[in-house]
Symmetry: C2
Subunit: 226 residues, 2 copies
């Protein structure tokens, strides 16, 4: 990876047009050719960038410190032009291949925990299957209640309106199938936004707030991911 600190002007043309006036910025050039232009603030998103695969070409190089333009292009015709006015720092490091990130705690894990502890939603409930397939996509969990009636469960970390819409579409479809109807819905999330709760209530969908730590505590500790 090459790391350059330089006074520069940057222009992007592609999905949109963007322009950065003259200032000192950090330019990262990764070994796959991708380029990030960072300011000293904002969050992790660069001011401008080009994603791989792309190629970098140097124009008007009149010497190592002379003004020059770096042009990064890709197959889609997008272009990032970096006009270098003065280089303050320029260094290249060999980082090697990164071993990558190990994650835990996302929706998939919530789903696994809840499937293993389906009775936490109601006594006598049984698991039909996870990722229950339908024509418009899989239902997170299909279960049956103590009376044997089907329950479609949609799981989110944060429950918002679009999650209720998603579950509504599933329920509409599932209830056309006379072999399983009636199917009711449960919207389960670690946190449910008020507007989502209102919409769910309006559609007779039950909301359940999940306690991730409690589910983990009840879970078989040998099943830890790491």
């Amino acid at each position: 990876m090459r790391i350059v600190v330089a006074r520069c002007v940057v222009d992007y043309t592609g999905k949109l047009t963007a322009h950065l006036p003259e200032a000192v910025r950090v330019i990262m050039i990764k070994s796959d050719g991708s380029v990030l232009v960072h300011a000293d603030g904002g969050s992790y998103k660069p001011l401008n960038w080009m994603s791989p695969p792309c190629t970098l070409r140097v124009e008007g190089d009149g010497g190592s410190q002379a003004p020059q333009t770096w042009v990064v292009t890709n197959k889609a015709g997008e272009a990032l032009q970096i006009h270098i006015l003065r280089i303050e720092h320029d260094d290249t490091h060999d980082l090697g291949v990164d071993p990558g990130l190990i994650k835990d705690g996302v929706e998939a894990h919530l789903q696994a925990l809840l499937a293993d502890q389906i009775e936490s939603l109601g006594a006598g409930w049984t698991l039909v299957r996870r990722e229950y397939p339908t024509a418009i996509g899989p239902v997170d969990i299909m279960a049956r209640d103590q009376r044997g009636e089907f329950v479609a469960i949609e799981i989110k970390r944060r429950g918002e309106i679009d999650g209720v819409e998603q579950l509504t579409r599933y329920l509409e479809l599932l209830n056309r199938d006379s072999t399983i109807a009636p199917v009711r819905g449960v919207f389960a999330a670690q946190e449910i936004k008020p507007q989502a709760r209102v919409l769910a209530s309006d559609r007779d969908i039950e909301c359940r707030v999940l306690d991730y730590d409690a589910l983990r505590g009840m879970d078989d500790p040998t099943a830890r991911l790491f």
Copy 2:
């Protein structure tokens, strides 16, 4: 901004748990305290990060090159631990305040172009207004067709299911208003995904694919943003 290249092990605990095994990575520490951990690949998203506002504390510093741990925390109780094993590079640069990004060509621009050329959707159509207000948010464009009936137009760069849901919510609300009902819907986007098209069709919403370049070409060139 401080830029460090170091062999490190990184752990994040917060909204989830994440672990990065030992490797050489680039660590950016911005002046607002935020931290990014980048590998030499992937896209602009760091492997791990902490967004501002947050604070960095150094633990177990046994000398400038000795193993040490940087702990970045925020008010929400999230923590990023960076175990520094060996520093290959460490430099600080004063970038000053960035003048910021100037953008053009996003949905707002599509909306402006389409509002100016509303007849491209149908002969005799007239613009009622852009950002037509409703209780649940503004409709991108409200128009009337050649017969004077109202048409609510939702504009996206990429038309997906959630855009159709959004327009559906607007239409449901608008059609309760007897002074403008019936209101029909048009889903307009540069690109419309098949599933979105199916859902729109099911709800009697018309899909229209927008040609951005053609709309620009017809547009008054003096109206350029920059």
